[in-house]
Symmetry: C2
Subunit: 351 residues, 2 copies
């Protein structure tokens, strides 16, 4: 009973980007945890390993030898989920059994020649090179494909099978579910409110401040009001930007800086290389390049699984899979915690 | 190139119950796996442990002592995500910051007094007792709450922190996302096709046979055409049934039987106690009891994470979280594999 307090009283919050709800039950974080604990990431990754197919000079699954690359390095995924030339499935004979063609390409991008580095430990110039390579691939594959999904799975917990710093880029002949959803909600918001949803949202969060993690002249990072993962964040530009390839030089520099600050805080949270899946969402490309994209705002989602420590994660299981996502601390509590962390990496602190 | 074959050529499939798509890339299963391996479940769970709060006679977190129960046992969750009396959040001051009241109750149901049993190892009479207890709780909590979510998280991999066989029941004052979605799609199907979606689907699958896992006079289990998890299944009645509490005596017996057959096959697949999250979806309750529910068909979803072996799971991460679910073998391949497994549990086979 009593006056409502978000940190005490369960409630639901609306996610306007996905048009769904999250259940916030902050008092749940008090329950003891006796379940599965995760292995912390290996501390002894060799800088160079000729058997690691992502290293310079190593031989990949298809027999090709990697160049002695010194910056970023892009190559075709040797086990692509999307290929350019799959034949069409036949016409469906029943509305409950519908298949559609799916074509595309899958690429891998190494961030750096060293296997023992991660983005938060790279220099600003090195992160900037990653951003340029992202923008280049987004433009190149986006010339024909409607959707170019850039994503990074970081850490074994997030299904990443290789410690070498890298991301993936899957370009598809179709708009995937999440793209479709965000396209619809952003379009509707522009129609109803005459301003792009995430531009308005960034302005509001800059004023309200309680969910801010880091900000600079061009960017801000918030734990969104509707976050489902404990330390989920949303990285947003302050001006209206449709796609990665539209970023100006100075915006790429300030993006490198804010990414570095966010990722250092993430690593500092539990003093561990922080696992997450992250990815970029921008306006659709290919045939959509000709269309009005004023409703779209470029953004990156970070979805990190850890909840309590380096080894205790949040499980999105029974209730979450069958009913609705549920979180155990408020987005404001998560933002406060991240905000108060130092911006020097725990591995680089001088004692 | 060449003629389309689902097991060779990537394609997308439509999920009419969630109104979204899954990418099927069966050739991906060929790629080697060097990522995270899971710990197999403990083999040495004691039958009775006075320190385990789910055991008969044990003391729970709130100081209460469990009775010496001999069948199923239901008690309030000591760390409930939903409580009956949370105050209302105030009115939202902005359309991008919307909160809503969320009230409810969370219960835990032990399936059996022994900690070292699981559903597939229980007798038909014991499984039938679980079904009766489910139906009873669904009716009791459904008298006032619009949604009663019964779900089981089985195995540490699925966030289950206690090996004692049990499930949870969360009743809420609102329709959760998944309920809302399935309500909409089923309603639309009935309007357009004059037959409940999942009744028509079960009839089709009974004819087509290639995705059938087990069937009997009242029920069938399929790997749905649109399955996202490798060995995901859908348990469906053959006649139109709105809710668990509407099941007749003979249908409860045949449900116990088909559940036992499915779960034994699951355990036999990798000769391990098979982890999953499962749950029941039926027509909404509380105020909805007065409404027309002809579009709703009772069903259970099983979402198991394992892909290749007892220790290698499917990760739903980067592309899946940011774009669209992707699977590595066809639903037909998964069904074939499950169908061909023996119906005697590997632990109960006479050598
Ligand atoms: O209530 P439990 O079993 O402790 O918790 C488990 O199931 C819940 C409902 O799916 C999840 O929210 C938790 O993350 C999970 O660990
Ligand atoms: O391509 P990878 O890194 O081997 O695979 C990883 O990312 C993919 C895309 O999110 C997922 O489908 C896989 O389950 C995951 O293990």
């Amino acid at each position: 009973g009593g006056r409502f307090r978000a940190s005490e009283h369960q409630h639901a919050r609306y996610n306007p980007l996905r048009d769904d709800w999250v259940l916030v039950s902050a008092h749940r974080v008090k329950r003891p945890w006796q379940g599965q604990v995760e292995k912390p990431p290996p501390e002894d990754v060799p800088r160079w390993d000729p058997k690691n197919p992502l290293c310079p000079g190593a031989t990949r699954a298809n027999g090709e030898v990697n160049p002695q690359y010194e910056g970023t390095f892009v190559f075709p995924n040797d086990f692509p989920a999307l290929q350019p030339d799959a034949p069409e499935p036949g016409d469906s004979d029943h509305p409950l059994f519908r298949a559609a063609a799916a074509r595309g390409v899958c690429k891998v991008m190494c961030f750096h020649p060293w296997s023992d580095l991660t983005l938060p430990l790279m220099s600003l110039a090195e992160i900037r090179a990653v951003i340029d390579a992202w923008a280049e691939l987004a433009a190149e594959l986006g010339a024909s494909y409607p959707w170019v999904q850039i994503f990074e799975n970081k850490g074994a917990m997030m299904g990443c099978s290789n410690p070498h710093p890298h991301c993936q880029v899957w370009a598809s002949s179709f708009l995937p579910n999440e793209a479709h959803l965000e396209d619809r909600t952003q379009r509707q918001h522009l129609t109803q409110h005459s301003v792009p949803m995430l531009l308005e949202y960034a302005e509001q969060e800059a004023l309200r401040k309680e969910r801010l993690v880091v900000e600079n002249a061009d960017w801000l990072v918030v734990v969104p009001y509707w976050a489902t993962w404990p330390y989920q964040t949303l990285l947003l530009p302050r001006r209206h930007v449709c796609r990665l390839q539209d970023l100006r030089e100075d915006e790429r520099d300030s993006l490198a800086s804010i990414m570095q600050r966010l990722l250092i805080k993430y690593d500092n949270l539990f003093e561990v290389s922080f696992p997450y899946s992250m990815g970029w969402h921008g306006a659709p490309t290919g045939p959509y390049l000709e269309e009005d994209c004023r409703h779209w705002q470029l953004h990156a989602h970070y979805y990190p699984p850890l909840l309590r420590s380096a080894t205790v994660r949040k499980f999105m299981v029974g209730y979450e899979m069958l009913a609705q996502a549920q979180r155990d601390l408020t987005p404001e509590q998560a933002a406060e915690r991240l905000r108060s962390l130092p911006e020097v990496h725990y591995k680089q602190r001088t004692k």
